[in-house]
């Protein structure tokens, strides 16, 4: 089985497991989830600059800043 397929299946299984074990969270219980440090990207401007660097120096990478960020990758 190709690596990518295995990775997808693993991700789906983990996600399904997580969904099965989810306990209902009421709106008044979401204060901690609403914290700034729980955001996916608390500092998107800084993350964009960092990810543009990774994309320029690695063959593949996780994320990058502005879409259509040009090359700047010599």
């Amino acid at each position: 089985m190709p690596r990518f397929t295995r990775a997808i299946l693993t991700a789906v299984l983990l996600a399904a497991l997580a969904a099965c074990t989810t306990t209902p969270v009421q709106p008044w219980e979401r204060g901690r989830l609403a914290r700034w440090d729980m955001r996916w990207d608390p500092d998107p401007a800084q993350a964009a600059l960092a990810e543009h660097t990774y994309f320029s120096k690695e063959g593949s990478s996780g994320r990058v800043g502005a879409a259509g960020g040009g090359c700047g990758c010599n």
Binding site: P2, V25, L33, D37, W40, L49, A50, S60, A67, G70
Partner: protein, 394 residues
């Protein structure tokens, strides 16, 4: 040329909308409807060891500035994000690799020091940003002396239940490259590349303190994917490198966030696996710890590990002509691993927030999970220092 994928950023950008709507309002220092950010970054690569280099060993340095504005328009019915980035790049660049008498690689760097700058603008408009489900349209344009990229995309965040949010979208990018000194160095005069991307993700609220996101991404690139500035030592000749004219990449992503509010802290863990039709595959693991200290102080140490296996057509050089069509000695296509450590210090003062930080990145062939295959002589080590300020207002 390797350039950022529009939809990879869209996948991560969409993730920001996948948490409960209340989260979006919780900035560290204010609840303003408009937030302006400025960031400065100084990226500086280490010089290569002079014993294994021909040419100027002083490598790349990039000074970047970014200005972001995040606001509401149309009586709050639309969220608008604008970003302007300017970069100045200078230094010499890996050109090709020669074998020495013992067939060890000698890296040849570009003789002339490169000096260029890049400017980029992007805009994203979100319809009903406060709603549990919303749609975002985005466009961007980037230009440097020899490279232009125009992209557009759309993404949708769809609430499926109180605990589950679906994200999906797609984008398209059209890039044009017009290499400098094309006639002098027998480079292609003008070429284009198109990239189509799609993604889907699911985010779960696991409990009162943790969330998980899983996503998949597909990118299809078509056109001129060769780096027109790179050469290759092929038998007795130095020839322009050559890569396939299309590339299909798939990626799977997992992201986890857990709050430790009792000690004013949060844990971030991100993992990504990617594989493409060139045979290149990679693992990326990032772990960060957000620790507050009261009075608006916060420190964020982070670790990142990256490992990739080489593209099928990568090798430092070819000693004999073997009939291959595609060949490249670009270190970014070789087998290597990299460790990165960083720390970010932040201080909120009313509606202002100040931020400084630094990152140290070290890469080596032996750090790869699968450290076999051809050596990679031009791997980069760099230091990146940055500073920024945010201001919130109504």
């Amino acid at each position: 040329m390797i350039r950022p994928s529009a939809s990879l950023s869209a996948l991560l950008g969409a993730a920001a909308a996948l948490l409960p709507a209340t989260q979006a309002a919780a900035a560290p220092s204010d609840d303003a409807t408009t937030r302006a950010s400025y960031r400065f970054s100084d990226y500086d690569e280490d010089s290569l060891a002079p014993t294994s280099v021909i040419g100027d060993g002083k490598r790349y340095r990039v000074l970047s500035q970014a200005f972001d504005l995040d606001t509401r328009v149309g009586d709050g019915k639309y969220g608008l994000k604008l970003d302007a980035t300017h970069e100045v790049m200078s230094g010499s660049s890996p050109w090709y690799v020669l074998p020495d008498a013992q067939q060890r690689p000698i890296q040849v760097l570009s003789g002339a020091t490169i000096r260029d700058h890049r400017s980029a603008l992007s805009a994203a408009l979100t319809v009903d940003p406060s709603a549990r489900s919303n749609t975002t349209f985005n466009v961007s344009y980037s230009a440097e002396r020899d490279y232009r990229a125009l992209s557009a995309g759309v993404e949708r965040s769809q609430s499926l239940s109180d605990a589950l949010t679906l994200g999906y979208g797609g984008s398209f990018s059209h890039d044009v490259i017009e290499p400098t000194d094309a006639a002098l160095y027998d480079r292609i005069a003008r070429a284009t590349k198109n990239t189509a991307s799609g993604f889907a993700s699911l985010a779960w609220v696991l409990d009162r303190a943790s969330v998980l996101q899983a996503g998949v991404q597909l990118n299809a690139e078509h056109g001129y994917l060769t780096d027109p500035y790179k050469l290759y030592s092929y038998a007795d000749a130095i020839v322009p490198e050559h890569r396939p004219g299309q590339r299909l990449e798939g990626a799977a992503l997992l992201r986890y966030r857990r709050s430790f509010a009792q000690i004013d802290a949060a844990l971030h863990v991100d993992y990504r696996f990617a594989q493409d039709s060139w045979g290149l595959h990679s693992h990326t693991l990032e772990v960060a710890w957000y620790q507050g200290f009261g009075s608006g102080w916060r420190v964020v140490p982070a670790l990142r590990y990256y490992s990739q296996a080489a593209a099928r057509f990568y090798s430092p050089f070819a000693l004999v002509a073997d009939g291959r069509i595609n060949y490249s000695s670009d270190y970014r296509l070789g087998t290597f691993g990299a460790f990165s450590t960083s720390v970010n210090l932040r201080k909120a003062i009313g509606r202002w927030e100040l931020s400084i930080g630094a990152e140290r990145y070290h890469s080596a062939h032996g750090l790869a999970l699968d450290g076999t295959g051809a050596g990679v002589p031009a791997l980069v080590d760099f230091t990146r220092a940055y500073a920024g300020v945010d201001f919130g207002f109504d």
